[in-house]
């Protein structure tokens, strides 16, 4: 899912400056479909998060770091929802409806309005940059934990790492 979001992000960056061509129109559609898919998966992720508590942060972590980490994670979840929603609203305002995989029309929530469309494009862009900054911070923090603090934070993000092992140091 991270790969899907990062892929969608890269495609978004790439397509944005393309001159108009049939390829561009195709890529735009693919970007939207990928974004909608990410949006759907985020809900699955949130459901998982709601029913599974993540392991506690290591007691060795200073309090400000713990707070920052919680805030960062919460904001990442918010952005994972807000970015696709802003993309969807932008598409509506620009007058290009999103039809998922060319089959399932997603209703336009906004009427066509050029100024609003341009604003929403900037919102979509700004949210994206915020997300990528957070992801960079997230990756940096994870590496920091692993190599500098030498705790198990990075290891335990890995899927094979079960709750069980964590309890037995």
């Amino acid at each position: 899912m991270a790969a899907l979001i990062l892929g969608t992000f890269s495609v978004g960056l790439y397509m944005h400056d393309l001159p108009l061509s049939p390829m561009k129109l195709k890529i735009f559609s693919w970007h939207k479909w990928a974004g909608v898919t990410a949006f759907l998966l985020v809900w699955a992720r949130l459901a998982w998060r709601a029913t599974h508590r993540p392991p506690l942060m290591p007691a060795t972590m200073p309090r400000w770091q713990q707070l920052a980490a919680h805030a960062g994670h919460a904001l990442l979840y918010v952005l994972m929802v807000a970015i696709p929603v802003s993309g969807w609203l932008m598409s509506s305002a620009k007058g290009f409806q999103t039809v998922y995989f060319g089959v399932l029309p997603i209703p336009d929530l906004l009427a066509k309005n050029k100024e609003l469309g341009d604003t929403l494009r900037e919102v979509h862009e700004a949210l994206n940059y915020l997300m990528i900054a957070l992801v960079a911070g997230h990756v940096g923090a994870a590496l920091w934990h692993h190599f500098i603090d030498r705790d198990d934070v990075l290891i335990r993000m890995a899927p094979q790492h079960s709750q069980h092992k964590e309890l037995t140091p």
Binding site: L20, P22, L25, S29, G95, F96
Partner: protein, 188 residues
């Protein structure tokens, strides 16, 4: 004196009797739009500038005439980027072909308030026969002709080169028109 009065009366009667002909088109209350599919998604556009000539008496469609001239540069194809693109050579090539023209050769009644305009459409130097069904409704002295016709963009060479295949932009384009005209004195 008396005969002059009588002649005037006759004129007035004649004018009212013929006033059924709707022939003053109100451009500002008329619209010319189109809908096409891009990646399976309907996109709407319209032409901001066009002029129409119409002489239409619903009771005598055989005597009617209609023509529309479209200023292709006035297109709104859904986004500023698309507007720049469609002015180019591969699309309308508006520098070489600034106008498109439709001329009806006949208007036929289809029953009720429905009619069809049979005529020739010329875009980008290519002429094709088209038949556009429409309805005509009159309210007092104002009449509205409203209809739609599907044309194939490839027939006119609209969208060539990389745009020539139809998987991104479909071949069929629906043209929607709404012409409002006032009943005026009949021209001969």
């Amino acid at each position: 004196m008396k005969s002059a009065h009588f002649a005037l009366m006759l004129l007035v009667i004649a004018a009212t009797a013929q006033a059924e002909e709707f022939n003053i088109v109100h451009a500002d209350k008329s619209t010319l739009g189109f809908v096409f599919k891009q990646m399976g998604v309907s996109v709407e556009g319209h032409f901001g500038k066009f002029s129409a000539q119409l002489k239409f008496d619903p009771a005598k469609p055989a005597a009617a005439s209609a023509a529309i001239d479209i200023d292709l540069a006035s297109i709104d194809a859904g986004s500023p980027e698309a507007n720049d693109e469609v002015a180019g050579k591969q699309w309308f090539s508006t520098k070489v072909f600034p106008n498109a023209r439709f001329v009806a050769s006949a208007i036929r009644p289809l029953g009720g308030n429905r009619y069809e305009a049979v005529g020739k459409m010329t875009i980008k130097g290519k002429t094709q026969a088209i038949t556009a069904p429409f309805t005509f409704t009159a309210q007092g002295r104002t009449g509205t002709a409203e209809g739609a016709v599907v044309i194939k963009r490839a027939d006119f060479g609209i969208g060539e080169g990389p745009w020539a295949d139809f998987d991104t932009v479909a071949n069929e384009v629906q043209i929607r028109f709404r012409l409002q005209a006032e009943a005026g004195p009949a021209h001969k």
